[in-house]
């Protein structure tokens, strides 16, 4: 599998994801936001504060050169994972429905966070078991997932919710922590699986997400 981690001005979890993929033996590279060709099997939109997140999170990054071709790429079955800021960018791109609002208590939250796997039947989550609880840390100020009632119903109906918070930390509707598009090749999630890839750093729950993706290509 060829993976590419996009570097926007203001990305700061780019090297964290890169290292995890690299350690797992993936063929991974950085992709500068100003490049114009997506020539990988998996595109990673990493966490951080692209363009300072100054207007709305992800609002400006969405117009990066590299993302011009993302609709075609997704249409043709290319995989995309957006983590934290990456999730925000995916909603701004409308590749995923809804939006991420300020956390309910208005504070940035960094902490461990227990999630329940709601859908284990995706390219991304296949090494987890439905109902299983995992600990991925969160670190965000605007992770409060919002979609209108209609959209929520549809997400539920199509089984598009992949991860849910066990103790909702930010006010997200339906405890949503991560969702996938209908086609099943675009995942957006607020928690950081890349921060749980070593027992030295508190656990390895996150590593299966990356392993799962890599193994799918073998």
């Amino acid at each position: 599998m060829k993976a590419g981690v996009v570097v926007f001005p203001g990305s700061n979890c780019d090297s964290d994801v890169y290292s995890v993929l690299k350690e797992l033996g993936a063929d991974v590279k950085y992709i500068w936001h100003g490049e114009d060709k997506i020539d990988v099997d998996l595109l990673v939109l990493p966490g951080g504060f692209s363009y300072g997140d100054y207007l709305r999170c992800g609002a400006i990054a969405r117009f990066s050169k590299i993302l011009e071709g993302i609709y075609d790429y997704v249409e043709n079955g290319g995989y995309v994972i957006g983590i934290c800021n990456g999730f925000q960018i995916l909603t701004e791109l409308k590749l995923l429905p809804g939006a991420l609002l300020k956390n309910m208590d208005l504070k940035f939250i960094c902490s461990d966070c227990i999630l329940e796997v709601s859908n284990d039947n995706t390219f991304f989550s296949r090494l987890y078991k439905k109902g299983e609880r995992v600990n991925f840390p969160i670190a965000h100020g605007e992770g409060n997932y919002y979609a209108d009632d209609e959209t929520l119903k549809e997400l539920e109906r199509n089984n598009q919710i992949v991860f849910r918070y066990v103790n909702n930390p930010n006010g997200s509707r339906n405890d949503i922590a991560g969702i996938i598009n209908k086609k099943g090749n675009v995942l957006g999630m607020m928690p950081h699986p890349e921060r749980r890839a070593s027992s030295l750093l508190g656990g390895t729950d996150g590593i299966r997400l990356f392993k799962g993706m890599i193994e799918s290509f073998k």
Binding site: L55, R56, A59, I60, F63, T91, E92, G98, A99, L101, K102, M104, D105, L106, Y146, A147, D148, G171
Partner: protein, 81 residues
Amino acid sequence: MLKAYIDVTLKKSILDPQGTAVKEGLSKLGFEVETVRIGKHIEVTLNDMNRENAEKLIDEMCLKLLINPEIEVYSYRIEEE
């Protein structure tokens, strides 16, 4: 030159915890108010052009970048500078 004053607020149907927090803050200081909503205020200075074009331009900017229609609404006024 023209100046557009744009106000962006969350849709009515969406909770505004920031507004609620400010309302509470005001009440602690003894100011009792009915509601508070908080949004963004954007001032854009444009080169001279006719008003109609300016309005079209501002609408376009709002819809493309300045707001997210999923969650926000906007209004504006344009003045000569």
